[in-house]
Amino acid sequence: MSWIATHFNYVVVVILMMAGLFIVFSSGNLIKRMIGLALFQSSTALFYISFGKVSGGTAAITLDAQGAEGQALAAQLDPAYVAQFGVEGVVYSNPLPHVLILTAIVVGVATLAVGLAIAVRVRESYGTVESDEIDAVSRVAAEQAEPAP
């Protein structure tokens, strides 16, 4: 139990990821697939964010420890801690994952947009967004193009 408690963020990530992938694989509807994909990508985002968080850490803002802002920060912290490590030794949450995942989200949104756009075109062209029906149409077209050997 304690493992789950300490790793609950990973559990959530995995559940989200599996749910997303399951939707992608099992659904025949293009839109639903895109939703699944989005879910899947979200899980990644969560994954990054969660390991970037350090408990007790603060936002990663570079500041002058001797200046006014530094003093203000030090005042908020546990004095014992400050005594041991100084203001410079303050624990930050790593900012990089957030930055990265921001980028990843942008990429994900772009992908989603392209995917949905294609789905729209599919709908215009085939009159459906169900992949079974699309496959059936394609197969008919293929067999017309290619007589049986």
Binding site: L21, V24, F25, S26, S131, A142, E146, P149
Partner: protein, 594 residues
């Protein structure tokens, strides 16, 4: 070129080559005179060259080829007598065939003769093989010459036998050469007491194969049928040509390499005996002659096998005499064939009325083959008989030879002239043979008589001249000897007359007699027809293995991988996606649990 150099050149060139050379021009000879000049001139030059060889000096004319020394000319007393016989026969054949123009027959006959003469004079195994095969190739055209379906088939059978013989010799030679590196007979077969006849070690690698090759050409029992099969199918000249060279060349080769080999005694003895029965019942007179040829060669093989000096002399002498009288007999039958179109005993008879000369010559031949004293057969065969009689261990053989002698008289000495020229009158009244035929027959007959009357002429040339002289001086003309022969002849003649009178002699009856020939003529087609299905199957298999693989593999692959096949039908999207998870899991498993 000075005269000496010409003479020197002549003396150092294998006489057979002159004949071969002349043969090359025969097909292009437009005028009869030129043709006659070539046909007779070739052998004539060869004869001059041979006589020029003078003193039988071992004058080696060699040619180095592929690392082996080919001895193209190595005359000695054994080859001399065979060579002489072949050259004379070649000239006779030339004369005999002058009456008609068939460039193919004439030229190949001459090639054949030339090859045979060359074969006798070459001094090593490789050259012998070459000439051996040349005789086979050149001779087959004689069988082809009638240009009928039948003759083409017979020619194929003939050629298969001849080439088999050559191939066996080749195999043997190759085996021997690869083991010893020797090809020259002078080194292979150490001469007996410094004399030309040698003995090759039968245990040497390849020797048995060589012997088998020689044996086929000599028409050993069970492989003799090419002879009876092919000879009667030839034209009137063809049989004459064939009878002269092939088997005698084999006898020469046997004498050269296997003199004194005991197997040959028994093979020869059997050879003399068994054709008698077939000859007696055979209807086609040329086939009768073919059987008798077989029987006569048996004497020679037997003599070679005995291998004493006397016996070898006998073999050589018999070969010489035999070439002449067998050619004579075939010539006479050829004349009959030429004039009547047949040599079947049933269709002939009473021809002596219009073909007196032919009859006469035939009788001379018959007398000779029957070994009537004062004919060539007697002076030759006596030596063989004496040689076999000389060894008590060979008594059975002697009896067999004696029986065969009587048989010869029966079928060749009496049956041939009797059924052809006398006997019942067929009513045929053909013209006498053409002059050139008569001339050839006359010359041959003259030779038969010359040898018979004056054997010394022949004996001079025999391999062991001294032994021959002694035999002539002390044994040949002794009364018991002559009387014994005469008794034999008389009793045989009596038997013939008795049987004829009691109508017990097998009457001339049309039909084909098959002995072991059955094997080749019936058995082979049966075998091939039985094998043809599997062979065709083999062909299909061997030819279609690409198709087979294509069919099987291609079919399977097509089922799997064609656009609608099970392995590549549109794979659902989810499968690919699940695969990605599977790979992920696999890699994870490897990473975690390696």
């Amino acid at each position: 070129m000075t005269v000496e150099r010409l003479a020197d050149w002549l003396a150092n060139t294998n006489p057979g080559f002159f004949i071969l050379f002349a043969a090359l021009f025969v097909p292009f000879a437009r005028s009869n005179i030129v043709r006659a000049l070539l046909l007779v001139g070739g052998p004539a030059v060869a004869l001059v060259a041979l006589i020029n060889a003078d003193g039988l000096s071992l004058n080696l004319s060699t040619l180095k080829i592929l690392g082996y020394e080919l001895v193209l000319y190595r005359p000695d007393s054994l080859s001399f007598v065979f060579g002489l016989a072949f050259i004379i026969a070649s000239a006779l054949v030339g004369i005999y065939s002058l009456h008609r123009r068939d460039a193919m027959q004439d030229s190949t006959a001459m090639l054949y003769a030339g090859a045979a003469v060359s074969a006798v004079f070459v001094g090593d195994l490789i050259s012998l093989f070459i000439m051996w095969e040349l005789t086979a190739i050149a001779s087959v055209f004689q069988v082809l010459a009638p240009r009928s379906q039948d003759s083409v088939r017979a020619a194929m059978r003939y050629l298969v036998f001849q080439i088999s013989s050559g191939l066996l010799v080749l195999a043997g030679v190759c085996m021997f050469v690869s083991a010893t590196g020797q090809t020259q007979f002078a080194l292979i077969a150490p001469s007996m007491a410094g004399l030309p006849v040698g003995v090759m070690d039968i245990a040497a690698p390849g020797a048995v194969l060589i012997l088998a090759g020689f044996g086929i050409k000599a028409a050993f029992p069970m492989v003799h049928n090419w002879l009876q099969d092919a000879y009667p199918k030839t034209t009137e000249t063809g049989a004459v040509v064939l009878s002269a060279f092939t088997t005698k060349l084999a006898v020469y080769a046997l004498a050269r390499y296997f003199a004194g080999l005991e197997w040959l005694i028994w093979i020869g003895a059997i050879m003399t005996v068994f054709p008698v029965f077939f000859a007696v019942i055979e209807n086609d007179l040329r086939k009768v002659l073919a059987y008798s040829l077989n029987n006569q060669v048996g004497f020679m093989v037997c003599a070679v096998g005995i291998g004493t000096q006397l016996a070898v002399n006998g073999a050589a002498a018999h070969a010489f005499a035999h070439i002449m009288y067998k050619a004579l007999l075939f010539m006479s039958m050829g004349a009959v064939l030429y004039r009547t179109g047949t040599t079947k005993a049933t269709d002939l008879g009473g021809l002596h009325r219009t073909m007196p000369w032919t009859t006469l010559f035939c009788l001379v031949g018959a007398a000779s083959i029957s070994a009537l004293p004062f004919f060539s057969g007697f002076v030759a065969k006596s030596m063989v008989m004496s040689a076999s009689y000389a060894d008590p261990a060979l008594f059975v053989v002697w009896i067999m030879l004696l029986f065969a002698s009587a048989g010869v008289l029966e079928h060749s000495g009496i049956k041939i002239p009797y059924f052809a020229f006398f006997g019942h009158d067929s009513g045929k009244r053909p013209q006498e043979a053409p002059f050139n035929m008569l001339m050839a027959m006359g010359l041959a007959a003259a030779l038969c008589i010359l040898i018979g009357v004056s054997p010394g002429w022949l004996y001079r040339f025999l391999p062991y001249e001294q032994v021959a002289r002694e035999y002539l001086a002390s044994d040949l003309w002794t009364a018991p000897h002559v009387l014994q022969q005469l008794q034999l002849l008389v009793f045989a003649m009596l038997a013939f007359m008795l049987l004829q009178w009691r109508k017990l002699y097998p009457a001339e009856a049309p039909g084909l007699i098959l002995d072991v020939e059955w094997l080749w003529r019936r058995g082979w087609p049966m075998l091939t027809s039985a094998l043809s299905a599997p062979m065709r199957q083999l062909g299909r298999w061997a030819g279609g293995q690409a198709g087979l693989i294509n069919g099987m593999v291609g079919g399977l692959a097509r089922q799997a991988f064609a656009p609608n096949g099970w392995a590549s039908a549109k794979v659902p999207f989810s499968v690919t996606a699940v695969c990605s998870l599977a790979i992920l899991g696999l890699v994870l498993a490897i990473a975690l649990f390696r």
